[in-house]
């Protein structure tokens, strides 16, 4: 047995964590995923002339940042995830092929596979995934775990309330003793993408032109707030709208990561004005110092009134999500959940997110309740579920839990319901 980690037994499993923003892939037992591929792929349909000069329509899929961001005509950007679950299975298969061939450079039949899924994943999808892995990829063993449970494991706990604020949604999932309480899962479609939309609206209001990088040939340095001077690239193909949108979004994401900050407590206008400004340089050379928008935009996560042009009647803010999920659980486990609050997800990396959540929840719940928010460092927060999967798949006592090929052959795809809680 490979020594090393106490209780560990590496069987060279592979861990896949599919998210709406990116797809994390890596070997079990590692600290961080080896590959973090965007979940969006470029589907390029083009016509070629083959040997007999017959026009054929070909479709090529470009996965991975380097290949995807090349401007091409007729290249649609598509995301294979929707609503936190795998939606486009063809694209997903292409992603897996890419993962095995170009990233991991290994064959699927040698490695047991651990997949993460969202807490509200449907039975049909789960079974389809099982079938796909065993039939097409011939994996020797397979297992699916809810990503909230994996996040809890990555924090060294078996129970707690996992608040996952990701790209498309924010959800609160109570985990008890290594199992998800599925009926108490609360989610709302606010997340990183919503923040990006809000920023785009804000930029449009301020008449800032968002020029994506692929268009820029050269730029000149200008002072702050001066109109930018840049030259456009010539010979650009006619790109699709989705491509353009995607490239713009990249800039907005970068902007969001650089300047956004959340206030510790619900903001008042005076302190918002006093906030130090943060400069940002756009790809086209435009510089600006952002002041109050820094704090107003992410405030929409916690106070729905700050969301512009969004119908917030069905939405819930982050602290409401957390407290509702907790409230739906049995009263006996509620204190346990509150004292083990785990924050994860890329969107939670906004400065001040955890402090604000702590503050808001402290107001909502009774004063005797001990509220303890655990926020791991940024690297672990982005890849929380993946890390949990890596831990799980490399632990000696997990090796008896895999679904093996023989079990699948005997039990059919329904076995996943029985074996994977």
């Amino acid at each position: 047995m490979s020594g090393g980690v106490y209780g560990g037994d590496e069987v060279s499993g592979i861990v896949f964590d599919a998210g709406s923003h990116s797809f994390r892939i890596g070997f079990a037992g590692e600290e961080l995923p080896n590959f973090d591929i965007p979940s969006v792929a470029g589907i390029h349909e083009y016509e070629t002339n083959d040997e007999n000069s017959i026009m054929r329509r070909e479709k090529k899929v470009h996965i991975g940042t380097t290949k995807m961001t090349v401007p091409r005509s007729n290249c649609e950007m598509k995301n294979f995830m929707h609503d936190g679950m795998i939606d486009d299975w063809d694209l997903f298969e292409q992603m897996l092929d890419f993962a095995y061939k170009d990233c991991l450079r290994t064959e699927s039949q040698y490695h047991p596979v651990l997949f993460s899924e969202s807490a509200w994943n449907e039975k049909a999808k789960r079974e389809k995934l099982t079938e796909l892995m065993f039939e097409k990829y011939n994996v020797p063993a397979f297992f699916v775990v809810k990503n909230a449970v994996l996040t809890a494991f990555s924090n060294g706990r078996t129970a707690g309330l996992v608040v996952d604020s990701g790209a498309t949604q924010t959800s609160a999932v109570p985990v008890f003793d290594g199992y998800c309480v599925t009926h108490a899962v609360v989610r709302s479609p606010i997340g990183g993408d919503l923040i990006c939309e809000q920023i785009e609206k804000m930029l449009a209001e301020q008449k800032i032109d968002l020029v994506p990088t692929y268009k820029i040939k050269s730029k000149e340095e200008v002072n702050e707030n001066e109109p930018p001077r840049w030259t456009e690239k010539n010979g650009l193909p006619e790109v699709t709208e989705s491509y353009d949108k995607y490239m713009r979004k990249q800039i907005v994401e970068d902007l969001a990561q650089s300047i956004l900050q959340l206030c510790d407590s619900p903001i008042d206008v005076e302190s918002a004005e006093k906030l130090p400004s943060s400069p940002y340089g756009f790809p086209n050379g435009f510089h600006k110092e952002f002041l109050a928008e820094r704090i107003k935009v992410p405030e929409g996560l916690f106070d729905l009134k700050y969301l512009r042009d969004v119908d917030n009647s069905t939405l819930m803010n982050v602290s409401q999500i957390a407290s509702t999920a907790c409230g739906m659980c049995d009263i006996d486990i509620r204190p346990n959940l509150y004292s083990n609050l785990l924050v994860t997800g890329g969107n939670s990396l906004i400065l001040g997110f955890t402090e604000r959540l702590n503050h808001d929840l402290a107001h909502k719940c009774p004063p005797t309740v001990r509220l303890r928010l655990s926020a791991p460092p940024p690297a672990e927060r982005r890849f929380g579920p993946w890390i949990g999967g890596s831990i799980l798949a490399s632990v000696g006592t997990f090796q008896q839990m895999w679904i093996s090929k023989t079990e699948y052959e005997d039990g059919g795809r329904g076995i996943v319901e029985k074996k994977c809680p």
């Binding site: 047995m1 490979s2 069987v11 047991p112 108490a184 509620r334 009774p366 093996s404």
Partner: protein, 480 residues
Amino acid sequence: MIDAKSIIKSDGGEQREKKGDATKQRRSEFQLPRPEGMQRELYNLLTATNAGKLKLDAIISSRTKDGVRLAKLQMGKRPARRWLWTPFDNQAREDGLKLSHWMREDRINPSQPYVFAKFNKKFEVPSFNDDEYEEHLRMADWTKEETRYLFEVCQQFDLRWPIVYDRYDQTKFGQRRSMEDLKERYYAVVFELSMQRESAYEPMGYDAEHERKRKEQLTKLWDRTPEEWEEEEQLIAELERIEVRKRERERKAQDLQKLISMTDMSPASPSGSAASTSLKKGQIRQKLGLSSSASMSSSFNPEVSVTQLRFSEFRGSGAHLRSQEMKLPTNIGLKKLKNIETVIDKMKLEMNPMGAEDIVTAYNDFRSDIVLLQELKATLQTAEFDLESLRTRYQQQGGQPFEIEPRMRVSILPEGGLSSAFLEGPGAPTSSRRISSYLELLSKTDALNNPRKRKAPPPPGTITPSSSTPDLKRTRKSVL
């Protein structure tokens, strides 16, 4: 003229001096007096200090062979052993899946069980067959299928009730089951089964009703608003205050009780004898019927009497003069002393009688009684004032005016004594003389000097019956 240099120099000089002293001290502290024959240089090396710590680099041997290079890592000389990617058996698995892991060549041992297989602990949920079900396990609105399903889910999730409840398919059998329902059914079945199988089983009772109520209460507690928390805190503070007042009352009543019992005990010796007087005390206690009398009787100790004077006891061998036994203890306050003097004087007795045995005993008891009488008078006066204030309040609130009988009054006593009219009838005083009129109670200035450490009753001049100070409230309650 003060020279900066001289200041600096003097400071440094001082420090250097101090340091020199320190090192000299330390050197001698090292308990290594220079052994005979040891070279001076060697001795200096051994005891050399660097800011108080021994300079050990002079003593530790070092190899100069490698010079200043770091020593090479000492590893084993044999060749590296190989690690092989070996498949292994997992005894905890039933399907024979062979996963592989790296194992060192010489440690490969196929017969050795997989180390982690022993952690495969399962919780066994009891199972039952149909006959058992038919005979013992029927319950209203639980079908056999549903019971079996419940047991299946329990087995799957190892009896983790929040998860069992969560994953239990509520729509499968139509009825909505709460967690308490599930637990109730499960534990009832388990209980029945174990009763049937082994009769010596301790009953594991599950009280569903209690659980439901407990959870309801917990939920209510959880859902409290901040206003309710505030309210509760205020109520608790209020309760504290009431408790404090109650304890005050009890203490006062206790004091009173002691006083009363003193009167029964005074003919006896100072240590008191409980037997003869216990009956009377019981009667008195009933008569008094004070509030919180139960607590009083439990803590009251008839043996201990605080109000009696403790004369110096002459124990041990050695002769002593009997007249010394008449000496007053030194710890009595001025007031008591004065009162004793006044009474003896007015009764035309001798201040220092002759020291015969009977005389000494009687004299001591008499003086104790005077002290006791003084304290009784004080208590009675307090009670009288309370009564007065109550009367005034009662009259203010529209009740009929009533007069306080002169019998109950002690603050205004005729010095000359009672009129003969009062001497008739049962329970009347036996003589017209009133010793208590001789006694003077606490004056205004003496309000704080209470040798009995009791909270001073309000001085006579200052009390106004119509005021409603917290003091009044307190004393009012003590009368009730």
